[in-house]
Point group: C2
Chain length 460, copies 2
């Protein structure tokens, strides 16, 4: 049966690709209010795809963008496991648009060093990865009348903006979401030929900081020397976030960081990560960050503070002698196991309040606060995923960490008691969140087949 | 004769106002390349106005915007003095547009606490102030066939972007610009009823700083902890510009600052400046700046560093988990007598270079570097201006400093050997360089009459 399913996937590649292109053409940017209708359209698109594979699907409204919720009873016996597939149909903003080589929502296939790749916003994060399991379901449906195990699907539309309505959805649909394990494809392979399962992800606190001073912009000649300059003050505040050793200066920031298990550190060391190549690929000549740790440890096991955006005053051409009325920044912290995101958010606020100059109006908005997660490596579902990857690639997958955050993994664990298998097919150079985001078709095709194999592995 | 000229000014106010509105309606923003044609139109407008008052006028091209150059031989004897009136027809960018109560280039008269005022970009800086002497020339022309002394006029179009082509113009037209003294109206009164002559102005160095790191924007989860973040680095660099005492930390920054003459310090102290009211009017509750100096000293006699703009990464709504490829800022220094702008610019560059992180690509562009200036208070032309103001207002003018820069004053002195009389009619709350810039009609009318009187004072 699996052979027929895999053959079907191979034989219908063009149709699957056309479906993915439809999905990618919908500019479902969750952060930008004027794309709300596009988000709804992307949700409808995914629901229709699932219905075409025999699923019962509906859109669950939230205060933000809807969640696609779908079920298939499967063709397996009563003892077959029940999987919850989670993905997201929303994408990052495409800006800066002028750096794209083709329009971000007009997907194209171009040749790269690994062969053809699809280029579009969302190509890999997460529409392309979601489409792998959507197409695996489609093939099982067409060959066998459905997947060999019971499946629930939840595809949300606010992952890129902090999943702020996901908790409410999980609580409201708790009964409909009952499953044995969650499966997510939103992570990377170790390399194009080396499959990987991610067992460790950093958490995140994301904040927006605004400093206001005068009631209007001021002339820097007439007021300079007597008037509080909020940009001066903001650079002082944020410039003091790191010490000379790259460590975050918020008091107690590292207190709860759990030490990396030596076994995991050893395995990571064996991966032979080439930091110079990793950085050189994006034009960096020097490592940065916290002193005293290996590159993989800094990426997978150490917390960070990064200013993701800053603004204030005049940004146009030429000079303008102005003292701005306000300045702002977006600041995020990547967290590791042990760190409490609520405490980090509160400590950051306190750090800023203690240093803000008198007369400045400081506001700190916390967009999201999610803990880091660890997946038990001994899980039988991890073993099934590893077997599927081994069969597809002819080699064992490696267990890796990830520097990014997938907050839903923590929510699934804490709210529904579910562990998550993270089997992803992205590559480090996929430029997610950047212009010219891409997904290798080789990864897409293997990923679709690996998901079909994974379902077969779980059949009773 | 003067009485007839003043009567003529009073009788033709409406026509003069209509002319000023025409001038203000031209969006001659010198910093924005798409307004180049508007700058040329404003220059043509001013030349036509002068021709209508019997001047010979032409536009002198520069690599940037043209300079209006005009002459009138005057009706006085050979011994009458020769004045060089300088002004500028360019204006600051009007952004942020959403904060204007009426369109910036659609001048309107609205009622304020001092009676009617004209609101528009350039209302006072410098189109409104230029129009005072243009209208004084017009009245003298209509009553007496011309002004009682010889007059040269130079109106440039790049004052708001650092006058970068003015030096070349002054050298090229050196012969045509020969005069006994320069006269500029681009400064403020002490208050609506207290005329003032400015004898001290700060200089300025204006720089743009850019830090580049990776060749593209990066995902802060995948790269955070290993990749140089140029916004983090820029806030550290610029956040170290000031010490806790508000002093600029560039080594040697204060070394050459000339001490304030005690006589001037005493006179300023007698002005009874109300710092709380000055700051409170713009919504500030606390003084900022360098410790150990009075407010007027900090505004008029102490150097500053202000970040006038900053940018980098994501500035839109919501979160975006990006590490930007580059970040930048505009930074200006107000300088006082004794400080060498070239040395300050070089020291700032060295300060940044010494602190920029390894692997960052730092660039520093200097837009302008002009020294502070002092006008000799004993000049007979200052005495004539004081007499004109005394006659118009019925009280002695005060001698004040100014926090802003009028770089041309230093250029006129160093290149043409001319001192400058700074007789201005703006008020501190005119919101120059800000939304809703205004000029009190009371100031405009007195200023026009005072200029007509000043010319009569100089008649032989």
């Amino acid at each position: 049966m699996l052979t027929s399913v895999l053959d079907r996937i191979d034989a219908t590649r063009d149709a699957a690709r056309a479906r993915l292109f439809e999905f990618l053409a919908i500019p479902s940017v969750s952060a930008q209010p004027d794309h709300a209708a596009d988000c709804a359209a992307a949700a409808e698109w995914a629901a229709a795809h699932l219905r075409g594979s025999g699923f019962m699907a509906r859109l669950c409204p939230t205060p933000g963008h809807p969640v696609v919720l779908a079920h298939h009873p499967g063709t397996g016996g009563a003892g077959a496991p029940h999987l919850l597939f989670y993905g997201h149909y929303d994408v990052q903003p495409a800006e800066p648009l002028e750096l794209w080589h083709s329009p971000p929502f007009a997907p194209v296939v171009v040749e790269g060093r690994h062969g053809p790749r699809v280029v579009a916003r969302g190509a890999v994060d997460d529409k392309g990865q979601v489409s792998m399991w959507l197409e695996a379901f489609r093939a099982w449906h067409e060959i066998a009348g459905g997947p060999p195990c019971r499946i629930t699907v939840a595809i949300e539309g606010e992952e890129e903006t902090g999943s702020r309505n996901l908790a409410g959805f999980l609580e409201a649909e708790r009964a409909a979401l009952a499953a044995d394990v969650a499966v997510i494809s939103d992570t990377n392979m170790w390399s194009i030929d080396q499959p990987a399962i991610t067992t460790r992800l950093r958490g995140m606190v994301y904040a927006q900081v605004t400093l206001r001073a005068a009631s209007r912009d001021l002339h820097s000649g007439l007021y300079g020397g007597a008037a509080l300059n909020p940009i001066n003050a903001l650079t002082q505040l944020l410039g003091s976030l790191h010490g000379a050793d790259g460590r975050v200066q918020i008091p107690g920031f590292y207190d709860a960081v759990a030490p990396l298990p030596p076994r995991l550190a050893e395995q990571w060391a064996r991966l032979g990560f080439d930091e110079s190549a990793f950085l050189g690929e994006v034009g960096l000549t020097q490592p940065a960050g916290e002193a005293g740790f290996s590159a993989l440890e800094r990426l997978w096991a150490r917390p960070t503070a990064d200013i993701n955006g800053i603004w204030g005053g005049y940004q146009g051409a030429g000079p303008k002698t102005v003292i701005a009325a306000e300045a702002g920044a977006k600041v995020s912290f990547r967290l590791v196991p042990g760190q409490d995101p609520a405490r980090i958010a509160a400590d950051f606020r306190r750090f800023l309040e203690a240093r803000a100059p008198a007369g400045a109006d400081l506001s700190v908005d916390i967009f999201s606060a999610e803990p880091a997660i660890e997946v038990p490596e001994a899980s039988p579902f991890v073993a099934h995923a590893a077997a599927a990857l081994r069969a597809e690639y002819g080699r064992d997958p490696v267990l890796i960490g990830g520097g990014g955050s997938i907050p839903v993994v923590a929510s699934l664990k804490h709210r529904l008691g579910l562990e998550t298998v993270l089997m992803g097919f992205g590559l480090d150079d996929d430029q997610i969140h950047s212009p010219n985001e891409k997904f290798e078709l080789r990864c897409l095709d293997h990923g679709t087949r690996a998901h079909a194999r994974f379902l077969a592995e779980l059949a009773v």
